[in-house]
């Protein structure tokens, strides 16, 4: 089930944003892509999910994903929660958003997954009939993650989930994302909030100007100075 990314490039028209990015992630591993604003984190995740044009090789459990559309990649086990929760459908209710995620599962498995989601995100049960656009930012983030994992992907791509959320909500978000370890999901988390990332990372890579310039074990991120070095574009860590 491992994720292999080799020589990935990503571009908007003629402007190349990411160049020759390579990394791997093992089953159940949480990999943090750390970098400042404009480093190319969202573009990298977009290229992996198929919403941004790019080249290079992407493989999940040996199945190659290049030259497939975002829709095909979603069916092949990649799920992206974009920055700003843009995978949600704001005029639809919470339950309708969840149903759109669940529909890709075999019919016999939907009820069990739905029950599991409601137990993992109890707030979503309370808000089931509420329009997604009317949820708070934290609730929307929970829903965005729930919708993405509803179809039981093998790789979850999270783009700055901490953005704009209060510290108390971040604690809950860490709990929720940590709970995903239990289902063996590979999580690739793009973040610039290194304190938040440090609570989740098994391993990290540092992205600057579209290139990977460093990497290390997640425990290193707890070292505030090293993380700050990475974000402030100081010399690479390794």
């Amino acid at each position: 089930m491992a994720l292999h990314v080799e020589h990935l490039s990503a571009r908007y028209g003629r402007i190349e944003v990411c160049r020759d990015v390579s990394f791997t992630a093992a089953d159940g591993e949480f990999l943090v892509v750390l970098g400042p604003n404009g480093a190319g984190k969202s573009t990298l995740l977009g290229a992996l999910a198929g919403t941004v044009a790019g080249g290079g090789d992407i493989g999940i459990a040996g199945r190659m994903l290049q030259r497939t559309s975002a829709r095909q990649r979603a069916r092949m086990g990649l799920a992206l929660v974009p920055e700003g929760r843009r995978n949600l459908f704001s005029p639809l209710t919470v339950e309708e958003n969840l149903q759109l995620g669940l529909r890709l599962l075999p019919a016999a498995e939907r009820a069990a997954m739905q029950a599991s989601l409601h137990s993992m995100f109890p707030i979503l049960s309370e808000r089931a009939r509420q329009t997604a656009g009317l949820l708070s930012g934290g609730e929307q983030q929970m829903l965005a993650i729930a919708v993405a994992i509803a179809r039981r992907p093998s790789v979850l791509l999270l783009d700055e989930p901490s953005q704009g959320l209060a510290p108390v909500i971040l604690d809950r978000l860490v709990e929720v994302i940590s709970a995903l370890r239990a289902i063996g999901l590979i999580v690739v988390l793009a973040e610039q909030n290194h304190r938040f990332a440090a609570r989740l990372a098994d391993r990290y890579v540092v992205l600057q100007g579209g290139d990977i310039v460093g990497s290390g074990p997640g425990a290193e991120l707890a070292d505030q100075e090293r993380a700050a070095d990475a974000l402030l574009s100081r010399p690479p860590l390794h």
Partner: protein, 280 residues
């Protein structure tokens, strides 16, 4: 006066059917199919050439075929990155082409096939029974559409594709397929509307654009995003048209429905065409 209002409501119910696919397509693809009236015309023309119930089937199939051409044009334009106004202009061109084909094959003859020879007398009012059938079918179609959108997986996918096309791709929703399917649904509904008109007031080759216009007007006056409002828009346009025909004459008669639509849109009194629902 009451007679005009009732006559208007009966005509307006059919306009509601024409407005329904306009509303659906705008919601799912952000564009308008101006060939809706042409689907009605081709269905009516084909149905007059084939006898019996088979004529109705042939009429609807011809409208579906015409809308399949439109769906193909839409898909080609979308693949080349062209959307919105170019799709609308292409549909306008298709509408003119269909009207020309009808003129070429059937000439200027009107298409009319009244189902009933006697009128019903209800409370002193003379009503064509076909009108009541038209109203029942319109209400049934709107109810069916409402059910489809709210209670089925396909309906959720249509609404999702409308609200957030990129998010829909990420959720593995076939956005292009949903949009092309909506154009085909427009062919089906337009064809049905054409058959209802064929069996009531009748139409000729010039009706294509006027039916499109009145369907478009009905779709937008109460807010183009909601199919239920399309029916009310159709009823309102029907009543205004019937009242203007009853109480005015000449150019004024044809001008009043357009003026009504403009006044409603400019004042914004009767609804909004924006999508509501996001947290402020």
């Amino acid at each position: 006066m009451i007679e005009y209002v009732i006559r208007g409501l009966i005509n307006g119910a059919v306009y509601g059917i024409l407005a329904l696919p306009m509303s659906l397509l705008f919601a799912t693809a952000g564009t308008v199919d101006f060939a809706i009236g042409a689907y009605a015309l081709i269905a009516a023309a084909v149905a007059t050439s084939v006898a019996g119930t088979l004529g109705l089937v042939a009429g609807v199939l011809s409208a579906l075929l015409a809308s399949a051409v439109m769906a193909g044009i839409f898909a080609l334009l979308k693949r080349s990155g062209e959307e919105g106004i170019r799709v609308a202009l292409a549909s306008f061109g298709l509408s003119v082409a269909i009207a020309s084909i009808v003129l070429l094959i059937w000439g200027t003859q009107p298409f009319v096939r009244p189902t009933f020879s006697r009128m019903l007398e209800i409370g002193g009012l003379r009503i064509n029974p076909q009108g009541l059938i038209n109203v029942a079918i319109s209400v049934g179609l709107v109810a069916l559409t409402y059910y489809l959108l709210r209670a089925t997986s396909l309906g959720r996918m249509m609404r999702a594709a409308a609200a957030n096309p990129v998010g829909a791709e990420l959720a593995a929703i076939p956005v292009l397929g949903v949009q092309c399917g909506t154009i085909l649904a427009g062919g089906l509904l337009g064809g049905l509307a054409g058959l209802l008109i064929l069996h009531s007031a009748g139409l000729d080759f010039t009706a294509s654009l006027s039916l499109t216009f009145i369907g478009f007007a009905a779709a937008i006056i109460f807010g183009i995003q909601t199919p239920l409002r399309s029916l009310f828009g159709g009823l309102a346009m029907g009543v205004v048209e019937a009242l203007s025909a009853g109480f005015t004459s000449g150019m004024v008669t044809s001008m009043i429905p357009s003026a009504f639509m403009l006044v409603v849109l400019m004042t914004g009194l009767l609804g909004s065409n924006r999508f509501a629902g996001d947290r402020p």
